[in-house]
């Protein structure tokens, strides 16, 4: 119990962020038309590609002779980049089409 309370007060900043972000996330896409579901999903998909930052950190911290970590980290960076770059480009392509016929 004590440990739990300690953890709560230690990480209160993070807990506040999490709670606020949950509400922001829900609020932000509150009433989205079904037309936009696919591009929105794809755009959100690109945003969670932010996990790439973790991959970069893990890669950049690995010892230069720890080949297992280097190879796995390298793979993580590639996959994360795929998620980010591919996600944004695909979303843009979809949305481009919406725009072209809007006079």
């Amino acid at each position: 119990m004590e440990a739990v309370l300690k953890w709560l007060s230690d990480s209160q900043q993070i807990i506040y962020i999490v709670i606020l972000m949950i509400f922001v996330g829900i609020e932000v896409i509150g009433r989205v038309p079904s037309v936009l579901h696919t591009p929105l999903m794809s755009g959100a998909n690109a945003i969670h590609g932010v996990v790439i930052i973790g991959a970069i950190i893990v890669m950049g911290k690995a010892e230069s002779d720890n080949y297992v970590a280097l190879i796995l980290g390298f793979l993580a960076v590639i996959l994360g980049t795929l998620n980010v770059v591919g996600g944004f480009v695909v979303t843009d392509r979809m949305l481009e089409m919406f725009k072209s016929k809007k006079k």
């Binding site: 440990a3 972000m21 896409i29 929105l40 932010v50 991959a55 979809m94």
Partner: protein
């Protein structure tokens, strides 16, 4: 100084994600929103590469060659894949990219765990000692070590499930993987899930009692190899769970699953944020996790289904719907010739086109637009009735039609369209099955019962273009095809439309 600039970069990143997501939910600003989020992401990434410093040692990142190599390779493949993919294959692509993100999160956890295992799991406690923390040992070992371990496991499990699930979803959407279910699969899934959680708890507990150097938690020698093996066991089980979780789900429920996996990956990314105390990962991940969950629920609502129903009901897949399909009397259907279709359509006042996946696979959206223009020139009022889940994903059909330059105001959403059907002369259904199946309203035993559909049978004539009488994606028969008002026009959507255009021109 450098560190404050990095904080600023992350702040900009978080704000652009929120703004971007907000703008993405409005057609007028969506594209700009996507761009803004992309710029924010770039700032956060570049900032991390050049400004990141380890909190304890103050060291900068190294291995730049590897990092840039990965970024360049991933960037090139990602751009090419995204540019080349056909509009019809968009849902697959989204699922594939999502899987990559999940895999990335899982890999981070694997590396971090290896890192701690290598150091004998004593790192964080020793670091805290060196930093001169006054916290007593018990709390320390529980607070620091356990928190980090829990985050590592959460990232591993959620990331792997998301990765494996997305890969299966990808394979299913492009038709490489069939629905698969066996008796008691849900029980097996639950057993696996409980095992994963139990195993993870055990590992964390085991590490805690062997490392925590307090009186009440005596030091027990830790078998690092054994613990690592168990860790990989959790990884394997999570992958298996992801596969089994998506396997039985089919038909129109696929987009819901993709959306759900999307929010899973968001949460996995947020775990990374916890691990590195990195606010941009945390905000980005949670934002997508929350928005994705809401989006999933909205999609379920559009189909009048609950999420639980989707996950447990294995819509259309696996347990073959015997009641709706086999036993019922089918009666006869009637065929209609191209020339008859051409006549009916050109002399109609109002035509509604119902596009479905058949149109999408045939890449017939351009031909469809041509038919629409031709009929308009003859004074026919042509509109499109779009079911929320037409195609393979909500909004997918709109994207396809937009690609063919179909005017935005010609697209009617389901409610509008249903109001207009009674005054419509001809409904032309292009490869849509389940979204016009009256069983959704009339047959409680049908797996799609309760899903709102387009009430096409209210129109005077219904012409259905299909390649054969085979049931649609959800695997259920459609009574509509056997009703007296309905005529069947067999053939590939693109070819039929082209022939139809030629026929109308010859009239």
């Amino acid at each position: 100084m450098e560190f404050s600039i990095l904080t600023l970069c992350y702040l900009i990143g978080s704000v652009t994600f929120i703004i971007g997501l907000k703008m993405l939910s409005n057609p007028a600003t969506a594209r700009r929103g996507n761009l803004i989020a992309a710029v924010g992401m770039t700032i956060a990434i570049i900032g991390t590469i050049f400004l990141y410093r380890d909190e304890d040692s103050g060291e900068k990142l190294h291995n730049y060659l590897w990092i840039f190599g990965g970024l360049i390779i991933g960037g090139i493949i990602g751009t090419l894949a995204a540019k080349k993919v056909k509009m019809t294959a968009m849902p697959e692509m989204v699922s594939l990219f999502n899987g990559m993100g999940g895999a990335c999160a899982a890999l981070i956890s694997i590396i971090e765990f290896g890192h701690y295992a290598h150091a004998g799991f004593k790192n964080s406690i020793q670091e805290a000692y060196e930093a001169g923390d006054q916290i007593d040992d018990a709390v320390l070992s529980l607070g620091v070590q356990t928190g980090v371990l829990i985050t590592i496991f959460a990232g591993l499990i959620i990331g792997s499930v998301s990765f494996a699930g997305s890969m299966i979803a990808w394979g299913k959407l492009n038709g490489k993987i069939k629905d698969f279910a066996f008796k008691g699969q849900h029980i097996v899934n639950q057993v696996i899930l409980v095992t994963i959680l139990a195993l993870s708890t055990y590992i964390i507990y085991r590490i805690k009692i062997s490392v925590g150097s307090t009186d009440d938690a005596p030091e027990v020698p830790l078998n690092i190899t054994g613990i690592s093996l168990l860790f990989y066991g959790v990884l394997a089980l999570s992958l298996l769970y992801g596969v089994l979780f998506v396997m039985p789900i089919g038909g129109a429920d696929m987009p819901v699953v993709i959306s759900l996996l999307n929010s899973f990956t968001g949460v996995a990314a947020a775990c990374g944020g916890f691990l590195y105390d990195n606010k941009v990962m945390l905000t980005g991940g949670i934002l997508v996790g929350a928005a994705g969950t809401l989006l999933t629920i909205l999609m379920c609502k559009a189909m009048n289904r609950s999420l639980l129903n989707v996950l447990i009901g294995s819509f259309g897949g696996g347990n073959k719907p015997a009641g709706a399909g086999g036993s019922k009397e089918q009666g006869a259907y009637k065929e209609i010739s191209l020339s008859d279709t051409a006549v009916i359509m050109s002399y109609a006042h109002k035509v509604m086109i119902v596009p479905g996946y058949g149109l999408a696979v045939a890449q017939a959206q351009h031909a469809c637009h041509e038919l629409e223009k031709l009929l308009e020139s003859k004074g026919v009022d042509v509109k499109y009735a779009i079911h929320p889940v037409a195609g393979r994903m909500p909004g997918h059909m709109n994207v396809l039609l937009a690609e063919a330059d179909v005017s935005y105001d010609k697209l009617q959403e389901m409610e509008q369209a249903n109001e207009e059907f009674p005054t419509t002369d001809v409904v032309l259904i292009l490869g849509a099955n389940d979204v016009v199946n009256p069983a959704a309203k009339t047959d409680p035993s049908s797996p799609i019962y309760g899903m709102p559909i387009l009430d096409v049978e209210l129109a005077k004539n219904v012409i259905v273009n299909k390649r054969s009488m085979k049931p649609g994606y959800a695997g259920i028969e459609n009574d509509l095809f056997f009703q007296p008002k309905t005529s069947m026009l067999f053939g590939d959507a693109k070819k039929v439309l082209q022939d139809l255009i030629a026929e109308i021109k010859n009239l």
